[in-house]
């Protein structure tokens, strides 16, 4: 069972937008959606453009699924699963994330 890794304070997040954190050497994009009282974490690396940019994309939903649009070529990724809406064969890592006592924490596979 993975443990929760403390990443940052909630004030470091951007409501309805993303930030990037360095967690155990990996770039993680973290998104805060106040309307859902939810925080999501996925890999920051965009497999389509091969650049570390996903934290700078725009968030919202597609057919009720929370999503992120890549800022580079606008592919959409499911924030819960990391799977690309346009091509289900492509995905980015998705990490469990939570806010507790104003601290943001995520889990990473061992």
């Amino acid at each position: 069972m993975s443990t929760w890794i403390d990443v940052c304070h909630i004030d470091d997040l951007q409501p309805d937008s993303g930030v990037c954190a360095l967690v155990q050497g990996r770039q993680v994009a973290i998104f805060y959606l106040p309307r859902l009282h939810a925080v999501y974490a996925i890999g920051n690396y965009d497999p389509f453009s091969e650049a570390n940019v996903l934290s700078r994309g725009m968030v919202g939903d597609l057919a009720g699924q929370p999503m992120l649009a890549s800022p580079m070529y606008k592919q959409h990724f499911n924030l819960q699963t990391g799977i690309c809406f346009e091509d289900a064969n492509v995905s980015v890592p998705a990490y469990p994330a939570r806010i507790e006592n104003d601290r943001v924490a995520i889990q990473m596979p061992e």
Partner: protein
């Protein structure tokens, strides 16, 4: 071995050129070696829009020949050489310069010449005609020495010529022999209304005047003496009293000509010699000369078909016309004079709005025979279709010309038109062809125009084309959703109106009231742009930040490797040496790649997110401000050096460009907006390829709108001429805000214009004549945007909270190790995948 036959075409005017263009589309181009003689020094140009030569268009603008056309199709053109004689026995043509060409087939497209009444004194100096560009040059030269100009002839061409004289700044008179203007097309009532409207524009109209002598004037160069004893003094006389077919070469070679001139042709446009055709204004068909371009084009198509063995015939042409004369809508359809036996007439006259409409219907009130419209020609398309297709009239035909009440619809539904009905007469596009294109996948006006060419000539059929499109899409069951995305059942324009009417200030408020879900990058960006256009708040305020694309969020342009480029504003492209040095120093310090942009500024590439505030701190200290290259907003106002330095410049284009750029900088719009200002008609700033283009003339500024370069170039439309600066700015204010309010998401002005119902005329009505009563409001909104301008970088640098955003990691000061540069031509560039792998290996080894 050369088995090709030789085809000689005499005359390269509008019809001659249309014939060549049609011919090379067919198999005939492999069958014939084509030779053409053109008496004028330049190949075919648009005589229909000749008067635009005085409002800024150049001879090149008016050209009808695509560059490289003759070379590409192997057509031998003899420019500036007139065909002088035809030897029908030897089957050869001899030119004025002595060139002799043998022919197998010959096409005469010699056109017509202006008729000059043989009044004593008609050949005095400054007595001119109006047909060629050389004529226009002579008119322009004469106008410089004149105060008063007079056109002899109040027909269609005469009134065009009168417009040209007013454009040249002359006090203008029109002298007409008949008791009304446009005697051929209009009845007395229509002619009187037209006269009233034209006089109101400052042109003096003299009817029933027969000029008997032109001699020396007391105050002016000439005195025109009329048969009724009156006189008129004028410095310049333009004869526009009708045309005569140029049949001299045909006559001399023994071809049959009509008793009053014109080369006699049959339904295949063949003359009395079966190897010789005649087309256009030189040809006489069924005792009739056709002085309009459309029938000439129709003849050209007939001959092109006949030469390739395709059955085709010319069986007369509809002479209905719709045009704008000095801003006045005039249209005439069919039997406007009610000459048909038993014809009945309905007339509607509205003195206060200066509108006149007349319908001519058959005795049984079932068929429309003709119509006259002055002041409002919006019903032209519908009426023409009734007339041409013999569609049965409604029970009360007068409902077609009476003002429409809200609960009635009297327009002819496109469903009532047969497939053969001609929608576009300029390009001969039928309703059947339009429907075919729609079935093949065209769903927008833009696509339909590109596919069929319909509505790309005079544009008069655009409204009809749009109604056919809408009707067919419904029939095909294509539900054209205009919703912006799944989160709002509205168009961008609807959202704009909701925000404006309900004074909504944030996306969340709009979503709560009118949307569903969380939104997405489509609706968020659109709403972010609307809020910015309307309220002009700082775009990185908390409620707005999530609505911005990455470029707007970081106030820079993301490049392929996730780094950004930085573009400071360089207004009008003018920059001091110190400014250039400062840019160079910043670029050097941060190791940025530098390139000059197409918009006359400098782009600095390769900045990491965390470097952006540092770079901007230095740029702002050096006096620069944000260039908004990252926004869907005003980009640049390009300029030439203008009259300040240029030998040819007639006004200060740099000064105006700087003023305009400072005025509109920061304005957010559905898409980016580019301007240019040229200091003379040489147009070095390429203003006619911009959203807003301004060109200096000796009499003020000419305004062009809705041009584009890039993927789908569009030549801008001439919108208003000879404006003073205050008026120019007023019009630009209105156009821009109207665009911001009504365009679709990410729609450039060029596409906005292509899809606008009513097109250029409608936009002119809204902006120049204030038809919607919006002008003051549009100007006010622009003033608000101008008053609330801020340099977004300056604001950002003053806010520590905002600056937190500019770091790669929220929990570390490290940089992104995936950003790797290599050197090329003395500067950095992003490493490619191969190179990055190589660097990684080296790093790991170390």
């Amino acid at each position: 071995m050369n088995t090709k036959q030789t085809l000689v075409v005499i005359g390269n005017g509008m019809v001659g050129q249309h014939f060549l263009a049609k011919l090379v589309e067919t198999a005939a181009k492999d069958q014939f070696h084509i030779v053409t003689f053109c008496e004028e020094p330049r190949a075919a140009y648009d005589r229909v829009h000749l008067s635009e030569y005085f409002t800024g268009k150049t001879a090149e603008d008016l050209s009808l020949v695509e560059s490289g056309f003759f070379e590409q199709h192997g057509i031998e053109i003899h420019l500036g050489d007139r065909a002088a004689s035809i030897d029908r026995q030897q089957k050869q043509v001899t030119s004025a310069k002595g060139v002799v060409i043998g022919y197998d087939k010959l096409v005469l497209a010699t056109g017509s010449y202006p008729f000059v009444p043989p009044v004593p004194g008609h050949d005095r100096a400054q007595c001119l005609v109006y047909r060629t560009i050389e004529d226009l040059e002579a008119i322009k030269a004469a106008a410089e020495k004149s105060k008063i100009g007079t056109v002899v002839g109040g027909g269609l061409l005469g009134l065009e010529a009168a417009k040209a004289l007013t454009d040249l700044g002359l006090e203008t008179h029109v002298v007409e022999f008949a008791p009304r203007l446009m005697a051929v097309q209009l009845d007395d009532g229509g002619g009187a209304m037209l006269r009233q409207k034209i006089q109101a524009l400052g042109v003096k109209v003299h009817l029933n005047k027969n000029t008997s002598l032109i001699d020396d004037g007391a105050h002016c160069l000439h005195k025109m003496n009329f048969a009724d004893g009156e006189v008129l003094e004028t410095d310049l006389i333009l004869f526009s009293a009708g045309i005569r077919p140029r049949d001299d070469i045909a006559r001399a070679s023994g071809l049959e000509v009509g008793p009053r001139g014109g080369i006699v042709i049959d339904n295949q446009c063949k003359t009395s010699d079966p190897d010789i055709y005649a087309i256009g204004e030189c040809a006489l068909w069924n005792g009739q000369i056709f002085g309009l371009v459309a029938p000439g084009y129709s003849m050209a198509r007939t001959v092109a078909a006949d030469l390739t063995g395709t059955e085709a015939s010319f069986t007369g042409a509809d002479m209905s016309t719709k045009l704008k004369l000095m801003g006045v809508d005039v249209a005439s359809i069919g039997d406007a004079h009610a000459r048909t036996q038993g014809a009945l007439v309905y007339t509607y006259q509205n003195g206060s709005s200066e509108i006149y409409k007349r319908l001519v219907v058959s005795q049984n009130k079932k068929q429309l025979l003709g119509a006259v419209l002055v002041g409002d020609a919006s019903g032209y398309g519908t009426l023409l279709q009734y007339c041409l297709n013999g569609i049965e009239l409604p029970e009360n035909p007068d409902s077609l010309i009476l003002p429409q009440r809200h609960d009635e619809s009297v327009g002819l539904g496109p469903d009532a038109l047969p497939a053969s009905a001609q929608i576009c007469s300029c390009h001969d596009v039928s309703k059947g062809q339009v429907c075919g294109a729609i079935e093949a996948g065209c769903t927008t006006m833009g696509q339909l125009k590109a596919e069929t060419k319909a509505a790309t000539g005079c544009g008069g059929c655009a409204a009809l084309l749009k109604s056919v499109l809408d009707c067919e899409l419904i029939k095909l069951g294509v539900e054209v959703s205009t919703d912006i995305c799944e989160h709002f059942p509205h168009t961008r324009q609807d959202l704009y109106n909701l925000i404006m009417v309900e004074q909504i200030k944030t996306f969340d408020e709009l979503l709560d009231k009118h949307g569903r879900g969380l939104g997405c990058e489509v609706c968020k960006q659109a709403v972010g742009s609307i809020l910015a256009s309307y309220w002009n708040d700082y775009i990185l305020e908390k409620p707005h930040i999530g609505l911005q694309d990455t470029n707007d969020t970081y106030l820079a342009n993301m490049q392929k490797d996730g780094t950004y480029s930085v573009v400071p504003r360089v207004t009008g492209g003018e920059i001091t040496p110190d400014g250039l040095i400062a840019l160079g120093q910043v670029a050097k310090k941060y190791g940025l790649y530098t390139k000059i942009t197409g918009g006359q500024r400098v782009d600095l590439f390769g900045a990491r997110v965390e470097q952006l505030p540092l770079i901007w701190q230095e740029l702002i200290e050096a006096g620069f401000e944000s260039g908004h290259a990252y926004g869907k907003s005003l980009r640049t106002v390009k300029s030439c050096v203008g009259s300040t330095w240029c030998r040819f410049g007639v006004d200060d284009s740099v000064g105006l460009a700087i003023e305009l750029e400072n005025r509109y900088k920061g304005l957010r719009a559905p898409h980016k907006i580019k301007f240019a200002v040229s200091g003379c008609t040489r147009e070095c700033a390429e203003a006619q390829g911009k959203d807003i283009g301004v060109i200096a003339t000796e009499n003020g500024w000419n305004l062009y709108v809705c041009g584009n370069g890039g993927m789908k170039p569009r030549h801008a439309d001439l919108f208003a001429t000879n404006l003073d600066k205050a008026t120019l700015i007023k019009y630009i204010d209105r156009v821009l805000i109207f665009y911001v309010r009504t365009a679709a998401r990410l729609q450039r002005t060029s596409v906005w214009m292509e899809n606008m119902e009513g097109g250029l005329d409608y936009l002119k009505a809204v902006i120049l004549e204030d038809r919607l009563g919006l002008a003051a409001e549009l100007e006010q909104q622009m003033q608000h945007v101008i008053d609330t301008y801020q340099c977004e970088w300056k604001t950002t640098l003053q806010d520590a909270q905002k600056l937190k955003r500019f770091r790669h990691f929220v929990n570390s000061d490290q940089a992104d190790d995936n950003v790797v540069f290599v050197e090329e031509r003395g500067q950095i560039r992003p490493a490619n995948a191969e190179e990055r792998k190589h660097f990684k290996l080296i790093e790991e080894a170390a």
